[in-house]
Amino acid sequence: MLVGTTIYALINTAILALMAIGFNLTFGISGVANFAYGAFYVFAAYGIWGMLNLLHIPYLLAVLIAVLANLILGALIYRFVLLRVRGQALSEVIATFGIGLAILELFSYFGWVGFEYTLPVFMDRSFIIAGTYVDFQRLAILGFSAVLIACLWWFTHHTSIGLAFRGIAQDERTALTFGIDSDRIAMLSVSFGAGIAALAALFIIPLGSIAPGEGYDVLIKALAVCIIGGLGSTGGVIAASFIVGFAERFTDTYIGSHWTMIVSLAAILLVLTIKPSGLFGKQKELEERI
């Protein structure tokens, strides 16, 4: 039982990391609040579902269109909404949260909830690892999130756009003097975050089904991982996913499923209270507490 729980905790960690990466790229690394992230996730999921089941578009093409649509939607939201309230952190939060609310509630108005609303798994097989059944989809998530985190680290440390992402979070004016167009970079960051949300939906949704409520869950989990790990750090995402992932799975097995959500929420509260910039965060202290 301990081994099985550990394996599933590891997979849970990968799922959390995958959910959080897009949000981390936008909010954690470039400091642009995008609280419509959960809505992007659900939007992509319903988009792919609709293209597969209603329009009968081939799988790969549908995925490509959904990712592109999310990239464009993210850019549009930045250009027409976020740009006008940029710099006022709370207006950014309220505006993006409003957009997310509108998208998610629109989907729940359509009432597309149920087991038939799900995406196909990549390969319908399962393996036995150390006496525990693990299906291929979960292994794929494990592999993909490891690759994606590696890509994210490489992207933010060794490409000029990635460095610019971190630059605008550290000091926007200094970034401007280095010739970084902060509006363009912020737009890219929202757009990339939305694109990654589509990929995350593609991998994670086959484990369950699509529901508008999922959007809020994804947002809270991504927020939890980002806050605990610390804004502006890739290593933090990994560490925080491990902490929350293992804590959730072990509480679920040994204490009770009611307590799973409480554990991750309590972890956020504790970290926010003691060290608001997170375990590995390197932000400016005076901006967060006084």
Partner: protein, 334 residues
Amino acid sequence: MKKRKERIDRGIKARSSDIFALLSWREMLYLAAPRLLPVIVCLLLPLLLGPYWQKVLLSVAVVALLAISWDILAQTGMVSLGQALFFGVGAYCSGAMNHYWGLSPVLTIPIASLLGGLICTLILLPVLRLRGIYFSMVTLIIPLILVRIVEATKIFGGTEGLSGMTPLPSTWFELYLSMAVLLAVLFGFRRMMDSDYGLVLKGINDNDRSVINAGINIYWFKAQSLFIAGAIGAFCGAFMTHVYMFVGMPVFALDYSILPIAAAVVGGPGTLAGATLGAFILVPMSEALRGFGGLRIVLYGVFLVVFIVALPEGIFHYIQRKYHQIERWVEVDK
């Protein structure tokens, strides 16, 4: 030829801003009208409306009070995304006192307001040092966690909640109690925010470090502001518990956090009157849109975005400007 918009105070505004206002009825009316209007509306509306809209008026009052409580916190530099915390704590306080000890609403509502304010202040005391968005995230999370705790530990009736509270004497009592509290809170705290005490609170929002420099303990003031806002929110919760005769997990719902923020943003933050105006616009509108079902919340979201982007000052400031000033286009000098 370039033009710019010029704003000039109306003559009547300049004349009525000192003692000479007493010289003419017109100027006294100009001064009194904006203050009398809400009083008259609040006192007459319960008489004019039918039973269904009277219930709507109750939720208008509750949302307005929550929005005022949000606004007081926001003016002190603490933007809360979880008014449901205040509402829920107040609701559970009065509910538990009424259910377990059988106290009458006359006692439970005032006690729950003060106790609720105190509990909320104590809950948020450890995060008083947090600024801006970090404080907001904490307030967003606390109601969520409280719901799960109630669900997991099954205290206060767990998922079932507590029912069978003592109802208030009559609908008229409910209506006029809520209206009286709304007016008292609106005018009382508007006055408070204009006093020296309010100036300190606003100063914390504008620049907390210079308030510290002035030798003022900002944490003490922030705690007081939290208590005030918490007590107003807790009153709403306690009041609604006795109106619905039920208290349960829905009191921590996201609605009680989103609606007041929407009302304050639409009405215009920073004046308390704007928050009230926003509630008087949004809640009836949402009732009128009841036929659309789930689309209502979609409209809320869209409203929030449109107002934040297009009219960030809110309706109240817009009306206030039109009332006090004339605007005209003038040519820009070279």
